[in-house]
Symmetry: C2
Subunit: 206 residues, 2 copies
DNA sequence: ATTGTATTAGAACAAGTGTTCGAGGAGAGA
DNA sequence: TCTCTCCTCGAACACTTGTTCTAATACAAT
């Protein structure tokens, strides 16, 4: 990738600022004014280069048809809370009905493009062994089964307990390993373990 | 806020999808086709209502001049890592020079519009008492001083130790309280405490 | 029936906007 | 000097797009 000319990095910079401030991309003439460029064709010329070099993507013939990078924003519903003695909420078809529901806006940097992502708010300190505290938000992905080593939300039927642990299926039993490695694992009967979702992230706002 | 008509929620929905998929807002005619609406003036009519009700913001006379909600995306630089025995990196003027630096794209939902936000990657398990594990990302805000009760990154000069704790200035001494309330606080001489930044969030990707 | 409000239809205008083109300048290398 | 490439200039064209206007329909309240 060649090094950007002064004018080109000014354009990229302006693109970021404009998009951030206004919510929609600039026109060629916006760029012209914003970057003190003398002619629209000079802008066009440089945009062509920036596109060739992969810095931006353009949709031709369309006003403001400029994108830069993947700035996808995803709306994730907070479908409930997770606490020691309560069952873990599982997404149902109507819990995706955002409009009313509390929700979280995240970049795909965090959801990593996964489908069926939702969030749970942690109540209480019962998940401390997973390095998760009161008020933290747990990012979950809807899954049917889990791979060994993945962090999952499990419901222990017999104990009527909800917890977040790393999941390992060993010969005939399930090992649930706390994230805090200094703590001892729990062993459980596979029948007793209901996997409610995969944990793909934790967010703590202070 | 009145309840949205069917057509209106279809429009809001379409707006979200279009913006998410293409990176720029739709034209009125895009909306017309996308929502099976018969005339541009019907779209105009409903957009006017949506604007009045505060669901969207429009910039008149400008193509694709539609914004919905604050979907501001912020680029946060990861300026270094934080580990037990190492000094905590502090942002310098040139560490904001994103282009080369590793960085994180977040919504303002997480930075909450704060200025001077940066991130540090945690190495090792020394911050476990703050419920922060290896590989976690700590969102920091550049500050000169801290209020009582805020979570701060401190450098204990004498002990040559970096840690994240809640900060309390008590008569003549500083109390540093681990986030995990079961653990005992540390008391330190104010002279020995260098506040490197305020912790505004934690992000864990799994 | 009458009035009024909310909504829709279709068309047309004017400004916004991407694109193109020919001509020209600046600098590097032969 | 000649030539080549990279870059600039200004204007013009044609399509895109926001806006507006008039007429028409639906439906409830008076």
């Amino acid at each position: 990738m060649k090094t950007l000319s002064d004018k080109q990095s000014r354009i990229i910079d302006f693109l970021h600022r404009f998009l951030n401030e206004r919510g929609y991309p600039p026109t060629i003439r916006d760029i012209q004014n914003g970057c003190q460029i003398s002619s629209t064709s000079v802008v066009e010329y440089n945009l062509r280069i920036l596109e060739r070099e992969g810095h931006i993507r353009r949709v031709r013939e369309i006003s403001r048809g400029i994108e830069l990078g993947a700035r996808r924003v995803v709306r994730v519903p907070i479908i409930g809370h997770i606490a020691a003695g309560e069952p873990i909420p599982v997404p149902t078809s109507d819990s995706w009905n955002m409009e009313e529901l509390e929700s979280l806006e995240l970049t795909e940097e965090l959801t990593r493009g996964k489908e069926g992502v939702y969030a749970l708010k942690v109540k209480g300190t019962s998940m401390i062994d997973a390095l998760i505290g009161d008020g933290d938000l747990v990012l979950m992905q809807q899954v049917a089964t889990a791979e060994n080593g993945e962090m999952v939300a499990v419901w222990l039927k017999r104990e009527r307990e909800a917890t977040l642990k790393r999941f390992y299926l060993e010969s005939g039993r399930v090992r649930l390993q706390p994230a805090n490695e200094e703590m001892a694992p729990i062993y459980a009967d596979p029948e007793n373990v209901a996997i409610q979702g995969k944990v793909i992230g934790v967010i703590r706002k202070l």
